[in-house]
């Protein structure tokens, strides 16, 4: 009798304390019954901020909760505990698993998150706030208010404020909505803009005053985001442009300086990418500690691999076809088929995995809606370096001089004692090597497979056609221009139409200016 | 009516008839005001068939033609000489429409503005050009080469349903005779010797019956005998056709000007006319000697 009374008093006191335990009813309501009722119960418990609740929610998510009749058990480490009291009990034989559908899981996760809001760890609170952005509704409001009241960190407090406003925006009270709309104007999040726009839909918000405020807030957020969007387009355009530049530079040498159309250029890129893959695997297997630096070894490996293949191509096939561009086109297409099939035989027809080293993963958050990935930044830098070294090599070194001489007047160069055959091979190898570097770069941002090159052939030729032959400057401008143009149009019309429009633009441009952007002038250009 | 008066009257009538007969299109009038311009007809009433006025062509800063002015009379055979790079080929490019000059005027007859026409149009109104390097259709036979040059409808449909008639056959036959390729009528043009190809090209030119022929180094690579024959041919064409011959071979120029020592020879240098006169005058001109010998 005493015990019973004591228990009742204890339980009542516990209930009154309201923050230290779950009642059996609560637990039952959360584990047994229809999903809607269960969800409501979970919401209530979450709102109450009970600190035993997280454990129970986690148990639900871990599928460790079982029921028998109206008793609820949590099974941990082979032991069954009573869900409400936590005492160890015997698990009845007829105990059933509590099944959680996807929706229930989401509810439980949301509940967990909202409870984290009150966690003592600031990082957990920050994480919880982020999670709540996705699925916040009025039921969580008391919890949010509670968290807002006790929040000490200023930044988190303002974020909570925005969260609160996001909920209040659909409150029944007009003043609350107005206030919420006003405070949301300070947001940096694209999600907030969507939320406000939703409220602006014809049948959502009816009060004109609130609508006006909503629109003001939307435009405020829009202008803040606009810069992010614009810079984002420029960055992706520059990134694409830098990739196109790397791809087209090699082609600019072989076609622009030597007059050779190389349809296997894409495959030389692919070889560079696979060389990177091989180097990665070697590091993984033998030098795991230095894995992050595999890229340093991969760059020269890719260059050499492609350069060697290119030199082999030149010596065995292309040198016999100088002066016959259409035949060179067909022969190099044949070589590309052989190369692709060769790679398929050695590495398999599927894509292979090339991982970014750690220092290239992730990105820098420049603005709220603009994240610049490190790997793309690295590629832009890499492209600039390659361009600079190439320009230096062509303009200042002996080899560059020989290449220019042989291109402009082969017989004269031969008379001067230049070994034109060797120069041809070196120049072609150089162009191919750069293609290899492009492949290495591509391996860091895209998939590596046997048909890696096929996707870039048309683009790279367009760059060369647009840029004009004979000078590297044209290739640079054309590559960057096409990259940015493509990305700009993509935002408008979608990727496929953007590509089509770019191709049409080039064809039309060539009408007006058949020699491209920068061309060698004078009578020789007519050849 | 006195006998003197009658005589005077007859004389006046005859003079008038003679004047009318020699009058030409404009009825003997000198002034050109109020004359009708006929489409496609080359107007040579005033004499020159080709006017080049202050033509300037520059390629990337380099002036290929520098204020060049040249006038070729109808029926004239003009020789043009000059060192390499003097602008001779560029001048021909301008006349035939291959290159547009930066400034200046080019007229065919007094009325046809060459700068406004396309190459094939210029070719059909009567300017024929022979290239420095003989360009014939290598994979077609000699006969077919000449057949393509026949003066006929150049349209697509016409060429699909084209059949040679007797007159055209005869023309080709006589042309083959003229260019000494009668025996090689069925040979593939690419297999001809260099000199024969030059002749074939000249023949193709003549098939179009052009009023003005532009000949860029027509005897380059020819033997002495072939050179002589070429000179004969050109001299026979002179009068009915106007010819502009660009050459380096002074012997050939001698042969061309042999019948009339006063025939004009023009010397081009660095894109403009350096000297103009008879061959003797030009050869003794100090400036010309300096430019050729580089003193």
């Amino acid at each position: 009798m005493h015990l019973r009374a004591l228990t009742v008093v204890l339980v009542t006191w516990l209930l009154a304390a309201n923050a230290h335990a779950l009642t059996a009813e609560q637990v039952r309501a959360m584990a047994i019954g229809e999903n809607d009722a269960r969800a409501a119960a979970i919401g209530l418990v979450a709102a109450s901020g009970d600190d035993k609740a997280p454990a129970f929610f986690q148990a639900l998510l871990d599928d460790a909760v079982k029921t028998a009749g109206d008793k609820v058990f949590v099974v941990r480490d082979g032991k069954a505990l009573d869900a409400a009291s936590g005492a160890v009990v015997m698990l009845p034989d007829n105990a059933e698993d509590v099944v959680n559908s996807n929706r229930m899981r989401r509810e439980i996760e949301g509940a967990l998150a909202s409870l984290k809001l009150l966690s003592t760890d600031a990082n957990q609170r920050a994480a919880a706030i982020k999670e709540l952005h996705d699925g916040v509704d009025e039921s969580k409001l008391p919890l949010i208010e509670k968290a807002y009241a006790i929040e000490s960190d200023a930044k988190l407090k303002s974020e909570l404020g925005l969260l609160r406003a996001g909920v209040l925006i659909s409150s029944a009270d007009k003043t609350k909505r107005l206030e919420a709309a006003k405070s949301l104007a300070d947001s940096h999040e694209p999600a907030t803009k969507t939320l406000l726009l939703d409220r602006l839909k014809p049948d959502a918000e009816t009060e004109p005053e609130v609508r006006a405020q909503l629109e003001l807030s939307v435009s405020a957020i829009q202008s803040r985001l606009a810069w992010g969007e614009r810079l984002g387009v420029v960055f992706t355009g520059a990134s694409l442009g830098s990739i196109l530049l790397l791809v087209a530079l090699g082609l600019a040498i072989t076609y622009g300086l030597m007059g050779v159309i190389n349809m296997a250029h894409g495959e030389l890129m692919m070889i560079g990418a696979y060389a990177t893959y091989v180097v990665q695997n070697i590091f993984k297997a033998h030098l795991p500690g230095l894995f992050d630096y595999y890229i340093v070894a991969a760059i020269p490996a890719a260059f050499l691999a492609s350069a060697l293949v290119g030199a082999a191509m030149e010596r065995s096939v292309i040198r016999f076809l100088y002066g016959r561009p259409l035949e060179t086109l067909l022969a190099t297409w044949g070589i590309s088929l052989v190369l692709m099939q060769g790679v398929r035989s050695i590495f398999g027809a599927q894509n292979v995995q090339v991982e970014n080293p750690r220092w290239l993963s992730g990105g820098v958050q420049a603005m709220s809606n603009l994240t610049l990935p490190f790997n793309r930044i690295a590629i832009i830098v890499f492209a600039v370096l390659v361009l600079a070294s190439l320009a230096f090599m062509v303009a200042r070194t002996r080899l560059g001089l020989f290449v220019r001489g042989v291109t402009q007047n082969r017989p004269m160069a031969a008379c001067m004692g230049v070994n034109t055959a060797k120069v041809d091979t070196y120049a072609f190898a150089l162009g191919s090597g750069i293609a290899g570097l492009a492949g290495c770069a591509l391996s860091q941002v895209g998939n590596v497979g046997p048909d890696l090159g096929q996707g870039y052939i048309v683009d790279s030729f367009m760059v060369v056609v647009l840029g004009g032959v004979g000078q590297l400057a044209g290739t640079v401008y054309a590559a960057l221009g096409l990259g940015i143009l493509n990305k700009l149009l993509e935002g408008w019309t979608g990727a496929v139409l953007a590509k089509i429009m770019v191709l049409v633009f080039i064809v039309v441009f060539i009408q007006k200016r058949p020699q491209g952007l920068f061309a060698m002038k004078g009578r020789s250009a007519e050849a | 009516m006195t006998p003197e008066l009658m005589e005077a009257g007859t004389k006046a009538l005859e003079a008038a008839r003679e004047r009318h007969a020699n009058a030409g299109q404009s009825g003997g009038r000198e002034a050109s005001y109020g004359r009708v311009v006929e489409e496609g007809v080359v107007d040579v009433v005033h004499g020159p068939i080709l006017y080049l006025d202050e033509i300037t062509v520059s390629f990337d800063g380099f002036k290929a033609l520098n204020d060049l002015s040249l006038y070729i009379d109808a029926g004239e055979l003009r020789c043009i000489i000059g060192p390499n790079g003097a602008g001779k080929t560029t001048m021909m490019d301008v006349i035939t429409g291959k290159t547009r000059p930066d400034s200046g005027k080019a007229f065919f007859g007094s009325t046809i503005d060459l700068l406004r026409l396309r190459e094939n149009r210029i070719a059909s109104i009567g300017i024929g050009r022979k290239f420095q390097k003989p360009t014939v259709f290598e994979h077609l036979s000699v006969f077919e080469n000449l057949e393509l040059a026949l003066k006929d409808d150049r349209g697509v449909k016409a060429s699909m349903f084209f059949r040679l008639n007797g007159e055209q056959l005869d023309r080709i036959g006589s042309m083959l005779q003229l260019i000494h390729l009668k025996d090689s009528a069925q040979r593939t043009a690419g297999l001809l010797s260099h000199g024969q190809k030059q002749w074939l090209e000249i023949g193709m030119l003549l098939m179009q019956d052009p009023k003005l022929l532009l000949l860029d180094e027509p005897v380059a690579g020819m033997t002495d005998e072939e050179t002589e024959r070429t000179a004969e041919l050109f001299l026979s064409l002179e009068g009915n056709h106007s010819l502009v011959v660009v050459e380096h071979d002074m012997k050939f120029i001698h042969e061309l000007t042999r019948d009339n020592p006063a025939k004009k020879v023009t010397v081009l240098h660095e894109g403009s006319v350096l000297a103009e006169g008879s061959l003797a005058e030009v050869q003794s001109n100090e400036k010309v000697v300096e430019v050729y010998l580089g003193r």
Binding site: F461 | E147, Q186
Partner: protein
Amino acid sequence: MSALPETTLSREREREQPANPPMASSLARWRERPFDTSGGVRVIALSALLLIAVIAPILNLAVPQGSALHLSDYAVALIAKIMCYAICALAMDLIWGYTGILSLGHGVFFALGGYAMGMYLMRQIGRDGNYQSDLPDFMVFLDWKALPWHWAFSDSFVATLALIVLVPGLLAFVFGFFAFRSRIKGVYFSIITQAMTFATMLLFFRNETGFGGNNGFTDFKRILGIAIARPSTRMLLFVITGCTLLGFFLFARWLVASKFGRVLQAIRDAESRVMFTGYDPLRYKLTIWVISAVMCGIAGALYVPQVGIINPSEMSPAASIEIAIWTAVGGRASLIGPIVGAFFVNGAKSWFTQAFPEFWLYFLGALFIAVTLFLPQGIIGLVKRRKKEERA
């Protein structure tokens, strides 16, 4: 100077050199030249016609299946497919072999003709498709409620026939006009044709374009009310394809032997001289370009009902480049060469993909290299050289 490929005509003339006949009669021969119906060609044409229209049907339909002479359905379908390809190769020879324009995008015309026929065949499925709806299956799948505007004429066979000719023709006309007008030549032109076919392929891959997306059209049931799968229909299509190939071959011969054909060859050899002779190359190039495009379109339209499927990969740059290799392998500027080349390469492909599939691409690649390096005149050139050596 590179070696000159010799045409049949020039070699006949070479033979007549020593005789030195009197001028008038030798020239008089040329009067009759335009269409050479000499014995050789007549025999070939008639025997081909016999094979296609009489012998093949008998061997397929009348001869029983077990017999050694029986022409299997599989063989019929394969030969018909290759004949369609041969038409494309012939078209390619006209523009590349004779006019010197290498197009690496002719597949797009083939595919457009195929799609036009495909649209008609899709409508002919009627309500027998998976969804039992008036709309083609893929449209039901995409949740479309009505036929888009470009399917307007797809239920009329006559209109479809017109579209097969007009759509590739129009695209070719517009593209060719702008390309030739700006004097784009040589390699640049080839690259731009690649871009053209690539762009069109991307367009057709999208579901929104209304051509079945990357699945294209398939599962045909009827044509003109007759069931497609029946052997008699197949044989009929086979005979029509063969006769079309023959017809195009004779047409091409006529075209090439006429003055028009000679102007084309002149354009290939010395375009500037052609201009200075007073011809407008643009008109000639445009004409032959459109003719070859329409030929490919018709080939595509014949291909689709026999192969049973059309999808955007027919427009891939790779497919168009293959057309060029058929022509090169067979022998450019010979008309019979491309047909031989198409049969040889596709026959090899068929054999390889069954026997040694991994080696097919090696073989094809090697073929490209070998033909450009060692066999610029193709198979026909090889045959001619042999004959010449035998006579010498």
